[in-house]
């Protein structure tokens, strides 16, 4: 059964190739079947595999499928091999499943787009590379998937290539992430050179053997990998690309820029957690980055006018939570939050897609009162939103976030600051979430709805709704059933959660305060953005700054982009050529000069003869 693993990659690849080559000649129906179907099959196979895996766990909870040796040179023998363990299984399930739902949604959503086949080709390719990334048993193969998803994200952001805006956004995403990738690549070089392998398990094992905790090498390696993760997961300081990435079609944003790809960084760090535990400083840095990003992004989300940009910033901020968890050493908490986040954020994006499709407008301040006509979307937003904001007990987001919050105090690296920051973040989250919902769905209706959603969309929305509600019960804190199933499941790979700090802050207290900040956020949102209030965006400076995402773009533009462009433009004519052409000039000058001696006058020539003789005589006698 498990041997089918390779199909999970192969099928999407195949359909992607087919669509890329012959897509233009196929009917939309066929394209839909190929595009969504392939992922569906992949999802089914994954389910089967997952079932088998749970029912009869293989040796050491790990199944490895070797396909072939990629290359072998001087002891460097990365393989094309897939590594299935609880963590990758969890990722795999989420990717294929959410992936399938989003494909299903797109079948209808993209139906009238000219690039139908192209879209599904890209999406399938993305799923394939994402799965490769997840299942890779060595870092090089992971890097392949890593770059693959980057490519697909680039292609999909620029999917509507006619608009230069989108093209620029695509380029930005690719280049910014490439920064991280380069760091990642150097990290690989370092790891192989020092450990002699890129096989993740061996490498981690050897690292644990050879490197002492806090050793400079471990720190360097961890830092480099972190660089890669930061860029992919849009964390500070490389977060700037994600909001612009919303230029892509909404399903893309849902799948790539919310549910799966952007969390690759989290996955990478979780996979290589050994390194990070060997480098405490870096791990702490991860926590810091997570926290700061979480807060800054939340503030930015608060000021956005564009619905999708709100969601984008909230994604950044939620991934900030995951980084925080990673930094705390609460690995499984991070994975848990990744899962729930995948559900509700995908839901939110898809719902947003419905709204945008219906009213052809993304500016929250032009919307309003849509709840009557777009019931499904409204409820999807309410459910997804409360999951995001962490409505206690009945939403998935609550449990996962609660776990992180609790760990931010109780975890090995936890402290009050993280806890407080986490709480603030939670407050902001619920604030901007409900701001969005209130602005969009309450108050006077300004736009009339053009399109109603069809079956495919409804199905995918409903499924995701239910997932964002019940998805949390796989791992609940003691007071509420206390079934840490997921954590236990992951424990074979990731070290279990430990609680070192006891009191003054207790778990109950955390839960209660989390619930209060949720309510507080809701109430504040109602006060500020409620139906009764004026619907004009406040224009104070702070909000301007938030709207501009704290001006990172401006900074980078001045610091990096312009100088580089300047250099490129200046040197385009190849300065090295100048001296060489100069040489040519010199010879020509020589020619001109000598040419003057050829006067054509006999007497001058005779003189030349005489002078020449004199000269050589002179030389002869000087030389003696």
């Amino acid at each position: 059964m498990l041997q089918l693993l390779w199909l999970v990659v192969a099928i999407p690849v195949a359909s992607a190739t087919l669509l890329a080559l012959f897509g233009s000649n196929l009917s939309r129906r066929v394209v839909a079947v190929l595009g969504a179907g392939s992922v569906g099959v992949a999802a089914l196979i994954t389910l089967l595999i997952g079932a088998v895996f749970l029912a009869s766990p293989p040796m050491g909870n790990v199944y490895v499928q070797h396909l072939w040796t990629w290359m072998s040179s001087g002891g460097f023998t990365p393989e094309i091999a897939f590594y299935l363990d609880p963590v990758s299984l969890l990722m795999l399930l989420v990717v294929t499943f959410v992936g399938f739902l989003i494909h299903l949604y797109s079948v209808e959503y993209m139906h009238d787009d000219e690039g139908y086949a192209r879209f599904f080709a890209y999406m399938n390719l993305f799923v394939a590379s994402m799965i490769t990334l997840v299942l890779a048993n060595n870092l090089l193969l992971l890097y392949l998937g890593w770059e693959g998803v980057g490519l697909c994200s680039f292609l999909l952001i620029g999917f509507w290539y006619r608009d230069p805006q989108n093209v620029r956004a695509a380029a930005k995403a690719f280049i910014v992430t490439r920064f991280g990738d380069t760091a990642f690549a150097v990290g690989l070089l370092l790891l192989f050179t020092r450990l002699g392998t890129l096989d993740i398990q061996d490498a981690m094992h050897r690292a644990a053997m050879q490197w002492s905790t806090g050793s400079s090498i471990a720190t360097a390696a961890a830092a480099l990998l972190l660089g890669g993760a930061v860029a992919k997961s849009a964390q500070l300081p490389l977060q700037t690309w994600l909001p612009d990435a919303m230029a892509g079609p909404t399903p893309t944003s849902a799948l790539i820029h919310a549910a799966t790809m952007v969390t690759a960084g989290v996955y990478l760090i979780a996979r290589t957690h050994v390194l990070f535990t060997l480098a405490p400083s870096i791990q702490f840095l991860v926590a810091i980055i997570g926290t700061v990003t979480m807060l800054l992004a939340a503030f930015s989300a608060l000021a956005q006018r564009d619905m999708k940009r709100v969601l984008a910033y909230s994604t950044i901020s939620q991934i900030g939570y995951m980084f925080l968890a990673l930094g705390l050493g609460a690995w499984s908490a991070a994975m848990f939050h990744f899962m729930t986040h995948a559900f509700f954020k995908a839901l939110l994006f898809l719902a947003a897609g419905v709204v945008i499709h219906a009213v052809h407008e993304q500016d929250l301040y032009r919307m309003g009162g849509l709840r009557k006509e777009l019931r499904l979307a409204f409820w999807a937003f309410v459910i997804g939103g409360s999951a995001l904001a962490g409505l206690p007990l009945i939403t998935a987001g609550f449990f996962s976030k609660d776990l992180i919050l609790w760990q931010s105090w109780a975890g090995p690296n936890g402290n009050a600051w993280f806890w407080a920051a986490g709480m603030t973040g939670a407050l902001l989250t619920s604030l901007y979430t409900f701001r969005m919902i209130l602005l969009a769905f309450y108050g006077p209706q300004q736009l009339h709805v053009r399109a109603k959603s069809g079956l495919a969309v409804r199905v995918s929305l409903v499924v995701l709704c239910s997932l964002s509600l019940v998805g949390g019960y796989v791992d609940t804190p003691p007071h509420f059933g206390g079934t840490p199933a997921l954590s236990n499941f992951l424990n074979s790979v990731l070290p279990p959660l430990e609680e070192v700090h006891i009191g003054p802050i207790t778990e109950t207290m955390t839960v209660l305060s989390a619930s209060t900040v949720f309510a507080l956020g809701l109430w504040l949102a109602y006060l500020i953005f409620g139906p009764k209030r004026s619907r004009q965006p406040a224009q104070n400076l702070l909000e301007q700054l938030w709207l501009a995402g704290w001006g990172f773009d401006w900074l980078y533009d001045k610091l990096l982009v312009r100088p580089f462009q300047w250099i490129a433009r200046k040197s385009a004519a190849d300065p090295v050529d100048v001296p060489i052409n100069g040489l040519a000039q010199v010879t020509v000058l020589g020619y001109r000069a000598l040419r003057l001696t050829q006067t054509g006058q006999v007497r001058w020539y005779a003189a030349g003869l005489a002078l020449g003789t004199a000269a050589i005589l002179a030389i002869a006698f000087v030389a003696r």
């Binding site: 040419r595 050829q598 006067t599 054509g600 006058q601 006999v602 007497r603 005779a606 003189a607 005489a610």
Partner: protein, 85 residues
């Protein structure tokens, strides 16, 4: 040497030829002198050769002078500088 000087200074073709003549004779003289030093006849022999040759040269030269004169009614050497560069 005188001949050389003449060659360089005078523009008239005839004079040019004459100065060449002078140069040749000078070197001939040198041979004679050298021959005398070693009391060998070779010097004089050489001198005779030179005389003969000089004669031949000058004859050809004069032929040129005629032709050239026919063409551009002048005996100016510098006029003969169509080709240059």
């Amino acid at each position: 040497m005188l001949g050389l000087a003449g060659l360089l200074t005078r523009r008239n073709l005839i004079f040019t030829l004459m100065s060449i003549e002078i140069m040749l004779n000078a070197s001939g003289l040198a041979f004679v002198g050298a021959g005398a030093r070693w009391a060998q006849p070779d010097g004089q022999v050489m001198f005779l050769f030179i005389l003969a040759m000089a004669a031949a040269e000058v004859s050809v030269g004069l032929a040129f002078v005629l032709l050239f004169h026919k063409r551009q009614l002048a005996l100016d050497v510098d006029a003969a500088s169509e080709m240059r560069g």
